[in-house]
């Protein structure tokens, strides 16, 4: 399977990127001209649409060594680009909430190197919306006058286009990813993750177009339970005391979700680093090789911790998106419109709610959820924001 199969439900983007990769190859082997290839790209799209996956796939196609259509997915160039170890593909993933100037300066230095493999030096910045002003300035200089064989791939969520400065945006060719359609998500769940047809279709239909979310729901029963628990909240807010219990449930569900995502990943990363630094050997004196590795491991743990904060935020946001979806379903039912529901499997609940609430009060509930998402983005303490929201959901 080629690298493009990882880019779910984005036929237009894949066509554009595939054409550019062919042009790029022509430039490298001397059969083509500079036309058709661009030095800076901006991938935008809603959360879960696969911005950084698309950027990686494009990077792989640029490094692919197999003749034919670039991006075979099998050669060492493709494989190491996708696994994040290719010498000429550097990825900046901000672990915290912003990308520092120091990180960006190092990147500018990297981007000034000629590629080791004779193809392209690719620099991927997964969350260009989180560049600090200083970092954006450092980057701008490099993007304005890129070396002949350097390509910048910036990724940013499409709901905040202003977070990437106009000057940087104006230098980039835009790739706008859309919310992948449910059938495309279902297909990739079946083919890549081996999920059965029914579960795949169900998970795709309730994921709101978020590929990662769909995969979790399809493969992890505990995640399915947590979603059901969250979606039960709107109809179970009978007494004022329910507010605090439900707020608690919501925060806990998100925390559990996040720690399960982080837990497996963190452990695998820690094991890989420890092995690299000399742990796990047996024989007389082999243990001494681990001396001096504590610092690097601590540094990794620190990075993981700040990433966990982010993961927790994202998990909470996904729960809020689920809730907002539910209230939208209620509004749709009020209006009698024949639109696909966000949660078709909770149609009974949204119909019941539509029968007992006025459209106005449903709207106020929906607005409370949206206000809460915004508050969390402004760094309001989660529990405080959530309690305010749940109490608004209770009173309607």
């Amino acid at each position: 399977m080629g690298v493009w199969s990882q880019v779910v439900g984005q036929p237009d983007a894949v066509r554009v990127l595939g054409t550019a990769a062919v042009a790029a190859r022509g430039l490298v082997d001397g059969t083509g001209t500079a036309a058709g290839m661009t030095h800076a790209w901006l991938f935008t799209g809603p959360p879960g649409s696969g911005r950084s996956v698309a950027a990686r796939a494009f990077a792989a196609a640029l490094q692919c060594t197999t003749p034919g259509e670039p991006g075979c997915g099998e050669c060492q160039g493709c494989h190491t680009s996708m696994s994040g170890t290719h010498a000429d593909v550097r990825m900046v993933v901000p672990e915290g909430l912003s990308i520092s100037v120091a990180e960006m300066r190092a990147l500018v230095q990297t981007s000034a190197r000629r590629p080791t493999g004779g193809r392209w030096q690719v620099v991927i910045i997964t969350d260009a919306d989180r560049l600090t002003e200083g970092a954006a300035n450092a980057l701008l200089k490099a993007v304005e006058e890129p070396p002949a064989r350097t390509v910048f791939l910036l990724c940013a969520p499409s709901d905040h286009p202003d977070d990437v400065s106009v000057t940087i945006r104006s230098r980039c060719r835009a790739i706008a990813l859309r919310t992948p359609a449910a059938p495309a998500i279902a297909e990739v769940l079946r083919l890549r993750d081996g999920v059965d047809t029914d579960t795949a279709a169900w998970a795709a239909s309730v994921s709101g177009g978020h590929v990662g979310r769909a995969r979790r729901l399809a493969t992890d029963p505990a995640a399915r339970d947590r979603r059901a628990k969250v979606l039960r909240i709107p109809l179970h807010l009978r007494r004022l005391s329910d507010v605090f219990d439900c707020a608690d449930d919501l925060v806990k569900a998100a925390e559990t979700d996040a720690s399960e995502v982080s837990g497996t990943r963190d452990e695998a990363e820690r094991d890989a680093l420890k092995t690299a630094l000399g742990h796990g050997g047996t024989g007389k004196g082999a243990a001494s090789a681990t001396r001096g590795s504590a610092g690097a491991i601590k540094e990794l743990e620190k990075r993981q911790k700040s990433r966990a904060t982010r993961t927790q935020r994202d998990a909470l946001d996904l729960a809020l998106v689920d809730l907002a979806g539910f209230y939208r379903d209620v509004l749709v039912t009020h209006a009698g419109a024949s639109v696909a529901l966000n949660h078709p499997d909770h149609a009974e609940g949204s119909a019941q709610a539509a029968g007992s609430w006025t459209p106005e009060s449903t709207l106020r509930r929906l607005e409370a959820v949206l206000a809460c998402r915004e508050a969390l983005e402004q760094n309001v303490k989660p529990r405080i924001a959530i309690e305010a929201m749940v109490s608004a959901m209770h009173f309607g």
Binding site: H79, T80, A87, A112, R113, T275, L277, G281, G283, E299
Partner: protein, 377 residues
């Protein structure tokens, strides 16, 4: 993989490769050394390689290969184990996800790392020529001192390597000073004249690693590749090149001089150190040359001042000029000579510093150009 290899060759190879591995690898596989037996490049035996995306290091070791293959293990762990092995043949074999090492009665087992995720090692560019290791090592250190350290100006963080027929030129500048070394070498004739920009730090490390006395160093380079290859004594390294425009420096070199001084390097360095102690943050040291005497001074009225005089062989118009003391000392130290010639045009034009031999003659091939700082008032 199943091989048998001599202990010393293996331990040396692993130690040399492991020393260039990053202590905090950005991705875990870069903390590994790649063992490749019955290697893919067609050579018999074992190759030991390391790579940090910037520099790759590879050594070939003679080995009896029963079973070829590739595996990746922690460089740190393997270096620690191999250096303590007894002087007996070493058997290395891969068994599932572990590597077994047996040597005499000593037995070790190491976890492997995912070799399929290891980045493609850069291919060695075409052989361009060779030169004596100690000449190369010294030349690089003499020039790298002037390279910039500001990462936001990549073109100034490199050493420019120019191959022009029988002549090799190394140059670096950070805009405040420029160091240039020219010398003869033996070009292979297979590679056209070229000029490339190598990151100063990696070139200095590679030169140090290969530039041992009595050995020759081979340069591999092709204008279209993004790499400089250096090899010697069975060791090979590649360094990535900078893709940046080096300043046009030849026009900076003064074509005339109005005065020059010859002076002992050690007494001058000592005097600069003492005098500049009083200057706030070592901002500048003033040099006043007149017949037979150099007066050094630093500081002003309000911060205390210091003065010293040294004997000097001076010819030309008297001159008063000021420098950053650190840059001046860097240049004097890079000469590797007992005496130096300093030559001037005017106090606001760059000065040139060159080594002087025992006969009082300038030794050709090296120069250190230093921008003066503005004199007060």
């Amino acid at each position: 993989m199943k091989i048998r290899v001599e202990r010393d060759g293996l331990a040396d190879a692993v130690a040399w490769v492991a020393r260039s591995l990053p202590s905090r690898p950005p991705v875990p596989v870069l903390g590994g050394v790649l063992l490749d037996a019955g290697a893919t490049d067609g050579s018999e035996g074992l190759t030991v390689s390391g790579f940090d995306y910037e520099v790759s290091a590879t050594v070939g070791v003679p080995a009896t290969v029963a079973d070829g293959g590739r595996t990746l293990v922690s460089g740190r762990l393997l270096a620690d184990i191999t250096k303590s092995l007894p002087a007996q043949p070493v058997e290395i074999s891969v068994d599932g996800s572990r590597v077994a090492i047996a040597c005499g009665s000593a037995k070790f087992s190491l976890p492997t790392m995912p070799v399929e995720d290891y980045p493609q090692l850069p291919a060695m560019p075409q052989h361009a020529g060779e030169l004596a290791g100690e000449v190369f090592g010294q030349a690089v250190s003499q020039v790298a001192v002037a390279a910039g350290k500001d990462d936001t100006l990549p073109m100034l963080t490199g050493v420019r390597v120019e191959m022009t027929g029988e002549k090799l030129t190394l140059v670096a500048t950070d805009r405040f000073r420029l160091a240039m070394r020219e010398f003869e070498w033996k070009p292979s004739g297979d590679v056209e004249d070229a000029a490339v920009l190598v990151p100063a730090r990696t070139l200095a490390d590679a030169a140090k690693a290969l530039g041992s006395a009595g050995r020759s160093v081979e340069l591999a380079l092709s204008p279209t590749d993004g790499l400089l290859g250096l090899s010697g004594s069975g060791r090979r390294t590649t360094s990535r090149l900078l893709d940046a425009e080096f300043p046009r420096y030849r026009q900076l070199l003064p074509s005339e001089q109005t005065s020059s001084a010859i002076i002992g390097v050690a007494p001058l360095v000592e005097a600069i150190k003492r005098v500049s102690l009083v200057a706030d943050r070592g901002t500048q040291v003033r040099l006043e040359f007149a017949d037979g005497v150099l007066r050094l001074s630093a500081g002003g009225d309000d911060e205390g001042s210091a003065e010293e005089e040294l004997p000097v062989e001076f010819t030309g118009e008297p001159v008063m000029i000021a420098f950053n003391p650190g840059y001046l000392q860097d240049g004097l130290a890079a000469l590797h000579a007992d005496r130096a010639e300093l030559s001037f045009t005017t106090p606001n034009r760059p000065a040139l510093i060159k080594p002087v031999n025992a006969d009082g003659e300038v030794t050709p091939g090296y120069l250190y150009l230093l921008m003066p700082v503005r004199l007060p008032g």
